[in-house]
Symmetry: C2
Subunit: 660 residues, 2 copies
């Protein structure tokens, strides 16, 4: 029953729409999952942009349950589950159970704990969260104040929140959903501190779902985004848990003596966070690609201003994507999507390989023997490097995706500000990843510096500035050179000039950034050179991807020109040429492929839920439909005059019945 009169419904948009859209083959599996989701009423998205917090959470939980049913019904695997989550495009209240909680249980429990905790957790009888950050302590794990004190007399731990600032805070899936938590707490044995350790603690009754005695839990309130998730707080008042509660794969306490057994490889306890960071790098490409898809499609539909020399009313307005000012904002981001994706993939492979090796050492594994101390040390060093590198890359990847989404939103003009753009909400939902797993990025830059020093030394005599940047290898070398130069400078400031640590944090940040950008450029290039690329892609696609590689590298080089100059990695003249000639030419060459390139990311309309990014280009129709037909505010007529105490004259909507 429309409230829009017929004459308005008959209006058509003026001018041509969406000429640059091509058809493509849908991936079968994603298509099937999409079909399964769309057939369920609970996944109807039409009220998502209008609902308040409590409603959104309620719906999100119902959807999480349905996803679990579909998972079992269709025999999905983990990849399918992730795909389904991506398609629904909202954080679910099961989110932390299905990631950090299950991963930590898988990686850090011993056999007894697997039987007692991991099994019911896999069956969703135990629903969990990962309680690390505290109200007064975010990034610094060592500063956590929650305590776990060993009681020799009854072989238990007492978990306690000694201060308000020690209350667990921001814990995803905790506020309303979880009945168990992995709690990071300072282990204390006989008055001595052993640093933070993970404990699994039941926090709510399995029948009533009320918090257990002396445990206080709640949702922390609304956030910038992520409001379908019940981020929560958690306070303990001297709560006793049994010996088995301390996750014991790598560390344990002897029941009889209270003796603490040190972890085999200290680096292993950071395993989960390193995995999370690597995953963030991998995902960042897809996150950014979604924004780029919406903005690029809309920039082909949207027209603005005439060609300058054409007489008025004679020519139509120009497609916005034909303006260089729009191209230079969107196309380097399109290139960055690929750079992030390829780099993330390389990181994940490196991580998995290393992790398997370490596990083999610790558990004996396939080798049937334990590792010697030197092997362990080498592998542990490698993990520390990977840890540092992943920090730098995670930081730049999430930064690139977040900033890029905002650029995409703004490139959509005024309509980018509407919820129906599909970018704003997504941006706000993605933002927390820039904070997640942020374990002291600044401190870790020292490890990056050490790592870089090695490679810089080997290049010290290889000459200074390169004459041309025509060659791909020269471009990559320029990135390597700049990172090396910044390493030497930073070390000189620290070791020779004896500058204070605090005064060098800005230098370390830039150093880490330059190293990460070098890795992205290199991984992008290596991927194009790989036999996989050569076997699976046609030469034309490789050609376009190669242009994207060069655009990404040269645009980054130009953005960071200052450091490239200063390090003599390139000359002023080269930078000038890079921008005014090469980058502008690449924009022109990539422009015709832009829509095909964003289509290759294969986002469905249902997934993006965006008026501006519609595949069929029917932007105005969709904006108007949502505003007029779906918008609850339009069911309300107000009395606008200051002298009337009454706000609403009429109250047509069912959803407003509760109003007092």
């Amino acid at each position: 029953m429309s409230i829009v009169p017929q004459w308005v419904r008959d209006l058509k948009p003026s001018g041509p729409q969406g000429n640059f859209l091509f058809t493509k083959e849908a991936r079968k599996r994603k298509h099937d999952i999409l079909a399964a989701l769309k057939s369920e009423k609970v996944f109807d998205k039409s009220q998502n942009y209008f609902s308040g917090r409590v409603d959104r959470f309620e719906t999100a939980l119902a959807r999480a349950k349905k996803l679990r049913h579909l998972y079992l019904k269709h025999g999905w695997d983990e990849m399918d589950r992730q795909t389904a989550n991506d398609l629904t495009s909202e954080p679910t209240p099961y989110g932390l159970h299905e990631s950090m909680f299950l991963i930590t249980l898988r990686d850090q429990t011993n056999d007894e704990q697997k039987e007692k905790y991991t099994k019911p957790a896999n069956d969703y009888k135990f629903i969990g969260c990962y309680a690390q950050t505290e109200l007064g302590h975010g990034s610094n794990v060592r500063g956590l104040e929650t305590t776990a004190t060993w009681n020799q007399e009854d072989q238990s731990f007492t978990i306690h929140t000694p201060y308000l600032t020690a209350g667990k805070w921001w814990i995803g899936s905790l506020g309303r959903t979880a009945n168990h938590a992995i709690v990071m707490a300072q282990l204390i044995i006989k008055g001595k501190g052993y640093g933070p350790h993970p404990f699994i603690v039941q926090i709510r009754d399995l029948e009533t779902h009320e918090p257990l005695p002396n445990i206080h839990i709640g949702d922390i309130g609304p956030k910038y985004g992520y409001n379908t998730m019940d981020n929560g707080y958690l306070f303990f008042n001297h709560v006793k848990v049994p010996h088995i509660a301390m996750l014991a794969r790598f560390v344990s306490i002897d029941k009889e003596t209270g003796k603490y057994k040190r972890p085999a490889a200290a680096a292993l306890v950071y395993g989960t966070m390193t995995w999370v960071r690597s995953h963030i790098v991998l995902q960042a490409g897809g996150v950014l690609a979604r924004g780029v898809t919406i903005a690029t499609r809309y920039a082909t539909v949207r027209r603005q201003f005439q060609d300058r020399d054409a007489p008025q009313h004679e020519k139509g307005e120009n497609q916005v994507l034909n303006y260089t000012m729009v191209q230079i904002r969107l196309l380097p981001l399109l290139a960055a999507c690929f750079a992030l994706h390829f780099t993330g993939k390389a990181m994940m492979e490196l991580y998995e390989a290393n992790q398997n090796k370490l596990k083999a050492f610790v558990d004996g594994g396939d080798t049937g023997r334990s590792a010697g101390p030197e092997e362990l040390q080498a592998s542990s060093d490698m993990l520390a490097d990977l840890h540092a590198t992943s920090c730098g890359l995670k930081s730049i990847a999430s930064y690139t995706a977040v900033e890029g989404l905002e650029v995409c939103r703004r490139a959509c003009g005024g309509h980018g500000y509407s919820s129906f753009s599909g970018i704003g909400t997504y941006y706000a939902d993605y933002l927390p990843t820039t904070h997640m797993g942020k374990v002291s990025n600044y401190i870790l830059t020292q490890q990056v510096a050490r790592y870089l020093l090695k490679s810089a030394r080997s290049k010290q005599d290889s000459g200074c500035a390169y004459d041309v940047l025509g060659n791909d290898a020269d471009i990559i070398s320029a990135f390597a050179w700049r990172a090396s130069y910044l390493t030497f400078e930073a070390l000189k400031h620290r070791d020779v000039d004896k500058r204070s640590w605090n005064s060098l944090l800005v230098d370390f940040y830039r150093l880490s950034r330059s190293h990460s950008q070098y890795l992205m450029v290199k991984n992008f290039y290596n991927t194009l050179q790989s036999s996989q690329a050569k076997n699976e892609l046609d030469p034309e696609t490789v050609g376009v991807l190669h242009k994207l590689f060069r655009l990404f590298a040269l645009h980054t080089l130009e953005q960071e020109a200052k450091e490239f100059y200063v390090s003599s990695a390139v000359t002023v003249r080269q930078i000038q040429l890079a921008r005014t000639t090469t980058v502008m030419k690449l924009l022109e060459e990539i422009r015709p492929h832009a829509v095909r390139l964003v289509d290759s990311w294969d986002f469905s309309d249902w997934q993006m839920d965006s008026s501006l990014g519609r595949y069929d280009g029917r932007v105005c129709e969709d904006m108007f439909y949502r505003a007029s037909e779906l918008n609850p505010l339009n069911r309300v007529t107000v009395d606008p005059y200051p002298d009337s105490p009454v706000i609403f004259k009429k109250n047509e909507s069912a959803s407003l019945k509760s109003r007092l």
Copy 2:
């Protein structure tokens, strides 16, 4: 009736809190207005962060009405009204009535129209909006599709929406509130187009508040922010309005002949938008200052990591504001607040002076005579310059404020993401200003270029790079030099190299940016040199402000180093020194004054509604109070298991009674 157990309520934060807070004298008038607002129940902010769209709009309208009552009751002036609006800190449904609508009526009506429209508008009998942008046409006024066709037979206009894309869209205060609209429409007389002109049109019945026949109106739906405002859409189906509807101070149609009389000075019709842009520049400083206040205060309360060389448990964690990595994000923004404020003030003064002069010419005014054509041309040229300059400055001012707010939010760490930070909502509410009044910034850069060419020529022989940057004048000259250089380069590309217009848009953008930054640096400096500053400020304050000036200038110079190098305005060595020595030293010197400097902006806790920016530093207590006591989600207990079809087990909250 708290749902928080006593033992949790008894918990205290650990460690020292807020040692850097100083007392100050509250400004009397603001204090009185604040008291008046706080005593009214309707202004209670406690549920702002939790409410859904319809509730928020309803409350905002009630508040708008109450503000009007208080205005009359206390005999407030326009400044008081603005102050009250700033304190409530949300866009109100009367917002566009009280700005664009009344200003346009004041500036563009003739005497007859003033009697018929302006009087009842001032009395809130007519409540209005300003309907310019259309669904398919944002920034480009010339591209508007709504038509106003002159009917000679009955001396009326027919307002019509010929396409879906021609529907008015994004119009503030229109969706539910306004009963009148100023409609920008293409004027057509006897088949000939005369371009866009403003018409005042009644759109809703004054009794029933329903749309008039053949007019379709609605709210456009939820947005990234600004959700207390009813941005609306508006469609006309051949609606007739009388001759008087066309705003006729500068342009008119002869009733008898249908002859169009040209405006006296074409530039005058841009008057309102130029005023809006100048106002945005002025306000941007205060907007940014609010974010900087929150982030700076929180950075003195928040502690993270120990001093690196101290043994664990021996020293407390360090105040975050003592880290250079935090200082370099916040303190240059603090400096930018002042730069924006001083520049905006200078712009407004220039605008007012010019506007008065022009008005005197057009109306005869105090001079008792009409202006000659040369005087008019000169004044009109000046206005065109002001128009162009205001575009550039508005662009950089809103950009600086918006980007700066995000930097502030992130500098707060994880808690910056909570709604209770008070930054996210404010950021989202402020964002639309980056789109407002965006009449073809790119096109106007040509005018900036022409203006710059003149000043560049006079400096052409004055030498190249400056040897030192110790001197304030040298710094300002470096900014001038860079802008001049970019002007010459751009003109060379266009006139000598014959490059296409499209290929130079990026250059024009940078040119406009460099010119605007020059103006900001210069205005900051001039303000400190003014007799007013010397008379009203003590020497110590001037000294600190001078450091802020240098920080702003040198930090900007370093951020934009590339262009300064390329233009030979400075040397690589100078830039290196600027950052590593001068900027770092300035951070250290300004740090002890940071809290006093943000306090000077005089934001009250009630206004900011921020847990992190509280004057008393009780951050954790406030976060916990809002999360636990005010959060409606915590009144709900869920059934979390996938096999249960039931979402909610209990339903304690009154506000949830409507749930099906």
